[in-house]
Amino acid sequence: MSNTKYTYAVARIRALETSLLTDASIEQLLACKTVEQALQFLVEKGWGGASSGQDMDKVLEAEEEKTWRVIRDVAPDMSVFDVLSYPKLYHNLKAAVKAVCTQTQNGHLFYDDCPISGEEMLRIVENKDFSRLPGKMSQTAAEALDTLLHTGDGQLCDILIDKAALEAISEAGKRSGEKIIEDYADTTVAIADIRIAVRSQKTGKSAEFMRSAMAQCSGISVDQLIKAALSGMDEIAQYLEGTSYAGGADALRESPSAFERWCDNRMIETMKPQKYETFSVGPLLGYLIARENEIKTVRIILTGKQNHFPDNAIRERIREMYV
């Protein structure tokens, strides 16, 4: 008998999927002349909370909170979503290591909606109490702190932590035992590797640097990607054409913002089959990613309108919607 513990959750998510923004609603949002009009349109669609009013940041924040509240409400087991908290968790570590090394205090550097809040992370790093960090993170933290103290090289410390984050995501995906979480983790790592290759190529980084920044994943060969990145952007595109990330090749040739958009679209593409699942955690993950993607797109549109960007520049950055 297949697993039916997600039946209630998936049905609830199905009902909620009807209120996700469609491509048509995004078009309507784009057609709004001012940012106030666009916000009004969103509020009419039920965005924002009682106290968020017409404040863009508060509306988007309220939406993020709503999404997680639903997931916490319906998910029988939150541990499968660990994989989503790693980027924020490792970001907090990075910020704490730097804050401790530079002896500066700034509360706005941290994410608080993750297992270890900024304050706690800062205390852990200050007291070198790394045993309180989960899994291999303790080792990474000690290494990053040492590196930054001895070399003063912020970038080296960054790639060390970022690579550890990617490896943690990949490992959590495998550990979850759910195919879709594994796919999500693998796609995240692969896209991150491609991003590293593209940026390293542009800034003329060495093979050694790329190797220390990229994490292994099943869809992409790190060695071949590095080789391609050393030869040039066209070679990266050529290599991607032979993998399941072929769409990235065209995006790379088009423009940097098209490439960034493709990175997000590729993730939505991985998630789309989850619209037809009934008995797995997949639709929950799909909904979460779809909401994150939707909020990001709305943020792009609103910020674009606020800064009077031309419509074409905004349109180029619009992500594909889940529904």
């Binding site: 209630y8 998936v10 049905a11 199905r14 009902a15 999927e17």
Partner: protein, 158 residues
Amino acid sequence: MSELGIVYALLGAAVAVLLSGTGSAIGVGIAGQAASGVVTEDPSKFAKVLIIQLLPGTQGLYGLLIGFITLSKIGVLGGGLADLSIQTGLLILAACLPIGVVGLLSAIAQGKTAAAAIGIVAKKPDQFGKAMLFPAMVETYAILALLISFLSVSGIQV
């Protein structure tokens, strides 16, 4: 008169009701979870999802029907137990098996299909008719089993 004959026959009635009833309970339970999920977000869909939730419940009724016919045939209902040989008792037990086994499995399968169909109603309420058809397809096989169990039980001479 063999005393075991009536025991086998009664076992048949029990199998028909037990298995198909269990299947229906599981099936309606699975569909009910999905229905609750949809109604939590959108109470206006209550009537539609309730109908779909009830579809896997029919197997239990079929089992009840065969159980009832068997009981009246062997005289448990209406007094005066029939005089059954072991062979006749086993025949009645065999006759009850189709609705029991098929009822159990088809109700569970139908429950899962109903849960998926409730997903259709959640997203596209106007497609309710189509959503109903998918779980109803599973019903066919429960009806076929009911038919054979019914013909067999009726055909056995007591």
